[in-house]
């Protein structure tokens, strides 16, 4: 059975049908892509899956559990993590604190333990520092652990956002244009990074991307959106040849 299942998900803003009848089945350890021209509704799909918007219709299930009506923080708790198209780091916080916030859900010792500095709180802080430190090491950000996140170079910020999403301990990772603004070298490293993230943590990944090089190379299957509707779905080579996709991107051929 598939890990993440979306069925008939629709959302309108006033008269604009932003997403209509979106469907997706993402298997465990799957690496799928979501593409489409600008304004096709890709980010809206992410916002619907993660609870930022509530769908008008349709259901979203993760590992058999219904996510459709949950608040975003609960959805994160069920194991759906994301990054944002326009980076949304906690700019004033240090790099490592960005990760620690994302471990929020796995920290059983709350405010009373913190105020009294109980042993549980101390152990939790130690475990957090260790775990987040190791995550930073993996993402090559260890040397910048105590810098403010907003001072990082752009590429590092993108990577930190992925690391932060992973720190929540997800089953499925949604990446919203991870390669945007990166140079070819960074894009190449990003591809390796996404693959190793998937393999190490056993995650399923769904990514929105405009860079066709990245998408065609990484993704096992691709869903194409246009005007809020799924117009194609399949392996990269099949989608590439699909006349509807070509039409959406380049316009109808002159007959």
């Amino acid at each position: 059975m598939s890990l993440l299942i979306a069925q008939g998900v629709s959302k309108s803003f006033g008269g604009l049908k932003a997403v209509q009848g979106f469907a997706l089945e993402l298997p465990e350890r799957g690496l799928y892509g979501l593409i489409g021209p600008n304004g096709a509704g890709k980010t809206t799909v992410f916002n619907l899956l993660t609870g930022v918007y509530r769908p008008d219709e349709g259901t979203v299930k993760l590992a058999g559990r219904e996510l459709t009506r949950l608040r975003p923080n609960r959805i994160a708790g069920e194991g759906l993590a994301r990054t944002f198209q326009n980076i949304r780091l906690f700019g004033e916080l240090s790099v490592i604190d960005n990760l620690k916030v994302a471990c929020h859900l796995r920290c059983p010792h709350g405010m009373p333990a913190a105020v009294l500095r109980l042993a549980g709180h101390r152990a939790q802080e130690r475990a957090l520092a260790e775990r987040c430190g190791r995550l930073l090491e993996m993402f090559g950000l260890a040397s910048r652990a105590h810098e403010q996140a907003r001072n990082l170079p752009y590429g590092d910020q993108r990577r930190l956002e992925i690391a932060r999403a992973i720190a929540t301990g997800p089953k499925v990772l949604l990446l919203d244009e991870p390669a945007a603004g990166m140079n070819p070298q960074e894009k190449k490293e990003l591809r390796t990074l996404i693959r190793s993230v998937r393999d190490t943590f056993g995650l399923a990944v769904l990514l929105i991307e405009h860079d066709m090089g990245v998408v065609m190379d990484l993704c096992e299957r691709i869903t194409v959106l246009d005007y809020g509707k799924v117009i194609a779905h399949g392996p990269p080579e099949q989608v590439q040849k699909d006349p509807k996709v070509i039409e959406a991107y380049l316009g109808a051929p002159a007959a």
Binding site: F84, M111, L118, T200
Partner: protein, 397 residues
């Protein structure tokens, strides 16, 4: 990236919880380290009362008490306006609630039990013992902290009632609601009846009569004056300690993340409503304590004005000047903002103009406040200042 690190990570990922809950040796040192700052604060408070009071003399000791009360207010407001980035404009409302509630407790308890509202002696308040107390504590040493605590708790409950509906929403609703809340408290206090002067009158009026006999527009006079340097240093220290411990914990980081980006915080699993409400309730609690300290201070006539917007604005100035989110910054600003008017008596009428100008200058020169989110003891603050100084020199060439 090396492969082994990745493998380790995956396994440690699953083990985070067990790592946290695993018992570790050395429970006793932990207790010591947890309690040590509290012991230090108590020692400082005793020293302030015994040594500092004599050194400072009456006028400056009194000023120091006002500073201490303002530190509690500024640091507590920092938890809301600084940590969570929500803008509360009615902090004085909680100050007044705490002041009036604890004032009613000490006043009417003394009146009905001891026949007089005068202070019943207290070593910690620097008074001779006039009523029999415990072995070495005066009756006031027990009554006063209990009253403060009750004032703080009632204030926190009101904070919950105000915060729960207004903090569910994103945006400026809190500012509007808290502004109204302060005014409501002010008007309600104004409508209260005159304070009851004799034990018989209090007896006759019953609990409800006492609870509504708060002096009305004239102010609640005749409260026993228990507030001393000891109590003020104690609570200023405890407020800062609690704020610091929250800031450096999971809950505090959640608060800061809400300030930085609410949508991202939610996507990372932070329950933003709960986080904001908790911050607001804790801030209301300490504001209530500050109110109690203020109400029982010599020379203060607690009145409806203390709930007003002007008072709230004074506290906001301290928080903004100090740096939104900086505990030590707020405390420092509380010292400066309290002392300045004392030295600028000549231009006292223009106080608000000077503060407004200072705020505007601050917004231009250091929009994040004196210290920003950092603390005085953060090493990178000083490194940052140093570096900026050097580069400024270089730019001057």
């Amino acid at each position: 990236m090396n492969g082994r690190a990745w493998k380790n990570m995956a396994s440690s990922d699953a083990n985070l919880l067990s790592l946290i809950t695993a018992s570790r040796p050395g429970a006793a040192p932990t207790l010591l380290r947890s309690a040590l700052p509290v012991v230090v604060i108590v020692a400082l408070a005793v020293m302030a009362q015994v040594v500092l009071k004599g050194l400072l003399g009456g006028y400056y000791a009194d000023l120091a008490i006002t500073i201490g009360v303002n530190i509690v207010l500024a640091v507590s407001l920092t938890i809301v306006n600084g940590f969570t980035g929500q803008f509360s404009m009615g902090h004085a409302g909680f100050l007044a609630v705490g002041g009036y509630v604890s004032g009613a407790v000490t006043y009417y308890f003394s009146l009905t039990q001891w026949g007089s509202a005068a202070a019943a002696g207290g070593r910690l308040s620097g008074m001779p013992l006039s009523t029999e107390g415990l072995a070495w504590l005066g009756a006031g040493d027990v009554l006063f902290p209990v009253a403060l605590l009750i004032g703080g708790l009632v204030s926190a409950l009101l904070g919950l009632a105000v915060g729960l509906p207004s903090l569910r929403l994103r945006g400026d609703y809190l500012a509007i609601v808290t502004l109204g809340f302060g005014e409501i408290i002010r008007v309600v206090i104004q409508q209260s009846g005159p304070a009851l002067k004799t034990p018989e009158a209090a007896e006759q009026a019953g609990v409800l009569g006492m609870a509504t006999g708060l002096g009305g527009a004239l102010g609640f006079g005749g409260l026993p004056k228990y507030t001393s340097l000891f109590w003020v240093v104690l609570f200023a220290g405890l407020t800062m300690l609690v704020a610091y411990r929250i800031k450096t914990s999971t809950s505090g980081r959640a608060m800061l993340s809400v300030r930085e980006d609410e949508i991202a915080a939610e996507a990372m699993g932070v329950n933003t409503t709960r986080t904001k409400v908790w911050a607001f309730v804790i801030a209301a609690f300490f504001a209530g304590i500050a109110g109690g300290l203020y109400a029982h201070k010599l020379g203060v006539a607690l009145g409806p004005v203390d709930a007003g917007f002007q008072r709230s604005f004074d506290i906001i100035i301290m928080v903004v000047l100090g740096g939104l989110g900086s505990i030590s910054g707020a405390a420092l600003a509380a010292v400066v903002v309290t002392m300045l008017p004392e030295y600028l008596r000549a231009v006292a009428d223009y106080r608000m103009i000077i503060f407004a100008l200072a705020l505007i200058l601050m917004m231009i020169l250091r929009p994040k406040g004196l210290l920003g989110v950092r603390e005085v003891w953060d090493a990178d603050l000083w490194r940052g200042l140093f570096r900026r100084g050097k580069s400024a020199k270089g730019g001057g060439k």
